[in-house]
Symmetry: C2
């Protein structure tokens, strides 16, 4: 199937139950078509201004892709292998290998899109959202909703939200998903605060999933755009996000774990390793 | 002076004290050049889907402007008259006339920009921000800053903010300024919540100023994009905004005053009429 046809099938399947194997099949087909397409492109090394990380980009005719983390992107793996690893039992798997599989799957279609059509921001975002939402729905065995109902002394509103997973009567997960955050990230803490205010603090646990914070400067070098002091202030003064998982975690955000308010930023492999604990009241 | 030269002068002047008469002179020159430019364009009536409001747009060669509220835009007034009215004594002035002057001044440069260069979103936003910030700085007699310093048990951060006016030791104004809000507006309540959390609730009063919420559909009709239920939820569960002033106020937002949580949405003329009261502890 072509990239366009498989992505259309994915969009169609994602309007139904996000746990379904139709979604998984369409994801795998989209990843397969994307990997095949980018395999035919040139991989050009970029100058990395991010300490400890090497980046490249795909180039084809006049178009180039977003930065690709060279240590995480595994062009030697097939879509079938990626999907089998990510959605299979993970106990025996190496953490780095899990992160490579997650990163390669998540980056496949966005990188291909960049080569197909410049400035198409929406399709990569939708793909990434469906990929992550399907992952969470599969691991939790729960289909999410994207609204909450608020009742307060005669008022009743339905408020649109990011994905909400009801794991038990007192444990719901609020899951915003972003390709990158930039200055818009305060929305995540604001929505968490609203849920806390509506339903009671701690009833909805906030988990943010992001792809990367890389930025290509003048087509030649790669930087990461991070605002750790602002994240700390949001966590201190707006609301508590329980986890932030990254596919390509910036060191500056991983370091937020080390000092107050200890925001728990982790590679997404950590989710695979702890997903079975998340419904428990002991998980914080 | 040309539009480009006067706008460049305005940007230069706005990096200094926002109360200064240099800013006002550059604003007046930019408004004058913009009005002169749009006067040479055609004014085309648009189909309005907004009850009770008539809209048109400027058209020149292949380019068209954003929607212009026909009852608020006064092409018969000069930049000198607009600036004199807005920054002069307002006691004797009719409320509608004040709103017409404010709207015409605020819309002059954005409308001209639309005809000069499609897709230039940044210059209209900067102009509008400087116009409103200069208005507040002039009326308060205070120059704003755009950060707060946070000290908390050994941590010290400088957090960037929207405009902050220190009116007294216990009355500061937090002033976000937006051409339109859309889904990004939750940022405003989130920043207010952060200031409340850092410094104590009620110490920073939040005032949001917006131009309009109009949207041109397929170049032919005008709608207003409003989410009043979401605004009510933000006001109930995130933080309190003391005022929202609009240049072209949507009826759906003005109606928020009528029912709980009674968000105080007003035409910007209200600010001119009450600005002398805002420093007082009695103003809520």
């Amino acid at each position: 199937m072509s990239i366009v046809a498989s992505y259309a099938a994915l969009k169609g399947a994602s309007t139904g139950d996000l746990r379904s194997l139709d979604v998984r099949a369409a994801l795998q087909a989209t990843i397969a078509a994307s990997l095949e397409f980018t395999a035919a492109a040139e991989f050009v090394t970029l100058e990395s201004k991010v300490p400890g990380k090497a980046y490249g980009m795909f180039a084809k005719e006049a178009r180039t892709s977003r930065p690709i983390n060279a240590a995480l992107y595994r062009s030697d793996l097939t879509a079938n292998e990626l999907v089998k690893t990510i959605f299979g039992p993970i106990e025996e798997q190496d953490t780095l290998y899990l992160d490579q599989c997650l990163y390669t799957a998540a980056m496949s279609f966005p990188a291909a899109c960049d080569l197909l059509k410049a400035g198409n921001q929406k399709s990569p975002g939708t793909f990434f959202e469906v990929f992550v939402a399907h992952l969470f729905a599969s691991k939790f065995g729960v289909s999410p909703q994207t609204y909450v109902e608020v009742q307060s002394m005669g008022m009743q509103h339905r408020i649109p939200t990011d994905y909400i997973f009801e794991l038990s009567s007192n444990r719901r997960i609020h899951l915003p998903i972003k390709i990158s955050t930039r200055e818009r990230v305060v929305q995540v803490w604001a929505h968490q605060k609203m849920l806390d205010g509506m339903m009671g603090a701690g009833r909805f646990r906030g988990i943010l999933v992001c792809l990367a914070e890389t930025n290509k400067q003048k087509e030649e070098s790669v930087v990461e755009v991070c605002l750790p002091n602002q994240w700390a202030a949001y966590q201190m003064y707006i609301a508590t996000m329980s986890r932030v998982y990254y596919l390509d975690p910036p060191i500056k955000y991983l370091s937020l774990r080390e000092s107050y308010p200890h925001i728990q930023v982790w590679p997404l492999s950590k989710f695979l390793q702890e997903s079975h604990n998340i419904p428990s009241a002991a998980w914080t």
